[in-house]
């Protein structure tokens, strides 16, 4: 066993790792993500609000966010509900329970206004939405 394990590096490099390359592209992707990091929170909030123009459950929302490439909640679904709760308290969204079903969230008129404002001035959206994040 010891002898076989001693060759592990060679054999893994030849087989398992032969397809595994930390490519230039991957490095570039990471650089890009790092650069985007700052805007990220606001982008997520914007995405949530855009998606809630039509009524959805938290679970559907999480799925759609993932589809949009938002990975923030992937391992930490709880944060999504904290965010939803905060939006609800700010009266940007409203939640409804349907009989024996899940809780549905939908953007309120106030939420729609904020969303429009934010979409209109994409570049300044950070300020329009900042108070919500901190509210």
């Amino acid at each position: 066993m010891e002898d076989r394990l001693k060759n592990l590096k060679k054999s893994m490099d030849r087989t398992t790792f032969s397809q595994l390359k930390f490519s230039e592209q991957l490095r570039k992707d990471i650089r890009e993500k790092i650069n985007k990091q700052d805007e990220n929170d606001e982008d997520v909030l914007l995405a949530v609000m855009q998606l809630l123009v039509h009524e959805k459950t938290g679970f559907e929302l999480a799925k759609l966010l993932r589809g949009r490439g938002v990975r923030k909640f992937e391992d930490t679904e709880g944060f999504l509900y904290i965010l939803l709760h905060r939006l609800e308290q700010n009266q940007c969204i409203q939640a409804t329970w349907y009989e024996s079903e899940a809780k549905y969230y939908r953007l309120t008129d106030k939420g729609k206004k904020i969303l429009q404002k934010a979409a209109k001035r994409q570049s300044k959206k950070r300020f329009a939405l900042k108070e919500l994040l901190e509210g």
């Binding site: 066993m1 060759n7 590096k9 087989t15 398992t16 397809q19 930390f22 993500k33 992937e74 391992d75």
Partner: protein, 177 residues
């Protein structure tokens, strides 16, 4: 390999630094992650997260341990968190690649036998529970000293030794049964 030292951290250019870190350690981190999650695409995704995490916490790096050790610890913890996560336990990955994708036709018999033995060993290692797999990987693939492995896995020297011993017993049982 040359160690990046703490002085480099003091340079203002964090972005250049993270680039340098990725060039030096990208490949080994990607492989390390793969040894935990056994999936290429997933390993690439998690490696991205790890370097982003590393970038965000650069200011917390104290210079007490080697930068490489510090980075490895971030990576290992990230992998373990992922494996424990809801997402991992509930979403089934569909693109699990076969360990061996080349055809065997062109290979000479001896090479094939050698390769099959290797594949068998690697497959057995990849099936070990995490705590045994990681010590085997760090000790035999990365050839790290016991002490270093203890630091990386948040355990003691003796725990690492015991796990190595147990891991080898498990491998033996599975391969020689």
């Amino acid at each position: 390999m040359e160690e990046l030292t703490a002085e480099v951290i003091e340079t203002e250019d964090k972005e250049a630094l993270i680039d340098e870190i990725m060039i030096r350690y990208g490949q080994e981190i990607l492989q390390l992650v793969y040894s935990y999650v056994k999936n290429k695409g997933l390993a690439e995704d998690l490696t991205q997260d790890i370097f982003i995490k590393c970038y965000k916490s650069l200011h917390t790096y104290s210079g007490k341990s080697k930068l490489r050790t510090w980075l490895w610890r971030i990576a290992i913890n990230h992998c373990k968190d992922y494996l424990k996560s809801w997402y991992n336990r509930n979403v089934v990955m569909t693109d699990e690649e076969p360990a061996n994708s080349k055809t065997k036709k062109e290979m000479v018999e001896q090479v094939v036998i050698q390769k099959e033995e290797d594949d068998e060993l690697i497959a057995a290692i990849m099936k070990l529970p995490i705590k045994y797999r990681e010590v085997i990987y760090l000790f035999y693939y990365e050839e790290l000293p016991i002490k270093e492995i203890a630091v990386l896995t948040d355990t003691g020297d003796n725990t690492v030794k015991t796990r190595l011993k147990r891991a080898k017993e498990l491998l033996k049982e599975r391969l020689e049964a």
